[in-house]
């Protein structure tokens, strides 16, 4: 009769249960219904918004660095001979200055090629040709400030009265302003999406646990510790959040990659300056990881909270 209790009494009644022992009791219906997909979609959108924001930032920084020290000098002289003389004088003067890194005379042929589609061949050659200013690209050491510009303008005007100097960043200013606004917009979107993703993860974890309240109470009454029970649910919910997060990351990264390769095909140097670097990709990968961490913490807080309400 007593043989029915074939368990050795030494095998049981250990006061420190091993944590792994009840792991196989993880509930099968983990994240209920559409929640993993909601998580996947939210993570995907967050990744896309964050990726776009990072690309805009890179674009702004790269393009900014390229033209920050750039000046354009125009020689507005109608007579070709005088224009040529003045241009050479200006180039010579600029080359002597310590604060100038580079001086490039834009070849007249290039200018004509640039204007020909607009004005036509005969407008640019022969006696009736309209005068085209000579262009000199200047790169300063360091960024162009209003003071440096004024100082350079004065020194050049004294020598070449028909010279006109503009900072390249000046006429690109509105573009940079727009880029900055877009970056703020992306940042705001990321913040909103991150909050919504966090809420989705939180709700998913809570609803998964709500369906298992009965199980939690039973295991609790059978003598499981809070930690045993919390670990049980943490693991299964972290697993599901990881599935949703991974799907979202692949979706979002896929979309970014597609967009990136399409922009790259445009071949514009400015746009390729927005490409995502390894650090950017690492940041994007961190988004679903943060989601998993959040889901795990939520599971722990919810389980422990529910258990605290029991004796």
């Amino acid at each position: 009769m007593n043989a029915v209790f074939s368990i050795g009494s030494m095998a049981i009644r250990r006061n420190a249960p091993r944590f792994g022992a009840i792991d196989r009791l993880a509930p099968h219906s983990r994240l209920a219904g559409p929640m993993p997909w909601v998580i996947a979609i939210m993570i995907a959108l967050t990744v896309i918004a964050a990726g776009a924001g990072l690309a805009l930032r890179n674009l702004g920084t790269n393009a900014g660095a390229e033209i920050a020290g750039g000046l354009t000098v125009q020689i507005l002289e109608g007579a070709p001979a005088a224009r040529e003389r003045q241009a050479q004088a200006a180039v010579a003067h600029l080359r002597t200055r310590q604060d100038v890194a580079e001086v490039i005379r834009v070849p007249e042929k290039d200018l004509e090629a640039l204007l020909e589609p607009w004005l036509g061949r005969q407008m640019l050659t022969g006696d009736a040709a309209i005068p085209v200013p000579a262009l000199i690209d200047v790169r300063l050491q360091g960024p162009v400030t209003e003071r440096r510009l004024e100082e350079l303008r004065a020194s050049l005007k004294a020598l070449v009265p028909s010279a006109r100097i503009d900072a390249q960043a000046g006429w690109l200013g509105p573009v940079f302003d727009a880029l900055a606004s877009l970056q703020w917009l992306a940042l705001g979107l990321v913040a909103l999406l991150a909050a919504a993703s966090a809420a989705a993860v939180w709700l998913a974890a809570r609803s998964a646990l709500g369906g298992n309240r009965e199980t939690i109470e039973i295991i609790h009454l059978l003598g499981a510790t809070d930690r045993q029970i919390a670990r049980l649910f943490e693991r299964s919910i972290a697993f599901d959040a990881a599935i949703g997060g991974l799907a979202g990351l692949l979706l979002g990264a896929g979309a970014l990659w597609l967009l990136g390769s399409q922009f790259a095909r445009l071949g514009s140097g400015m746009v390729t300056g927005g490409a995502l670097g390894p650090a950017d990709w690492a940041l994007l990968v961190a988004i679903p990881v943060a989601g998993v961490v959040l889901a795990t913490l939520t599971a722990r807080l919810t389980v422990v909270g529910a258990l605290r309400r029991m004796l």
């Binding site: 009769m1 007593n2 043989a3 029915v4 209790f5 074939s6 368990i7 050795g8 009494s9 095998a11 049981i12 009644r13 250990r14 006061n15 420190a16 249960p17 091993r18 022992a21 009840i22 196989r24 009791l25 509930p27 099968h28 219906s29 009965e214 199980t215 109470e217 039973i218 295991i219 609790h220 009454l221 059978l222 003598g223 499981a224 510790t225 809070d226 045993q228 029991m310 004796l311």
Partner: protein, 241 residues
Amino acid sequence: MTGEGGHIVQFDNVGLRYGTDREVLSDVSFTLFPGSFYFLTGASGAGKTSLLRLLYLAQRPSRGVIRMFGTDVITVPRARLPAFRRRIGVVFQDFRLVPHLSAFDNVALPLRVSGVPEGEIRKPVADMLTWVGLDQRADARPATLSGGEQQRVAIARAVIARPEILVADEPTGNVDPEMAVKLLRLFEALNRLGTTVVVATHDVHLLRKVSDSLIMRLDRGRLSDPTGALRYPPRPEVAAR
């Protein structure tokens, strides 16, 4: 294992109320002696389940003192309670099987919670399922079991880890009389191994089936002690058993 006085459970002036309602248990005082077999009887609504909930540490009383295993379990830090619960086997009135686990895994639950190695679980659980006549249903989910079958799984789960106290709430309510007697034999076997058994029932026929059993009677939340077995110190003829 027991208190200084040789008792395993001592209730002193325990009262319990749910919320702000009237007390469902009042002035309940009694002592349980290790290795004894108790029946808890009383009309429906008398407070049997409420008393058992205090016994299996699911509930704190509103007043009074409860000592178990020589420890005041009301003031003990919450973190120490799981270790006490693992020494108590419970058959819940509503079974409380984990719905997503098979009969086998439900029965194995107390062993796994206690950290018994996986290799030492299979045989005792299989043996126990055979004893309660469910070896063919080991892989079945609770939802696919009949009421009586679920009750037997619940009983197997309560006794599998050889608890020091077994608390059973109407454990034979859903089985035929023959199976009821068989399950009582299981409790007796466990009792002979040293477990203190408390069975709540309003089936008076059951009481006569276990010789040497002691009776606790609840009447609208108050405990009467018809045999004097619950006093401390016990009457000599009770102590001699």
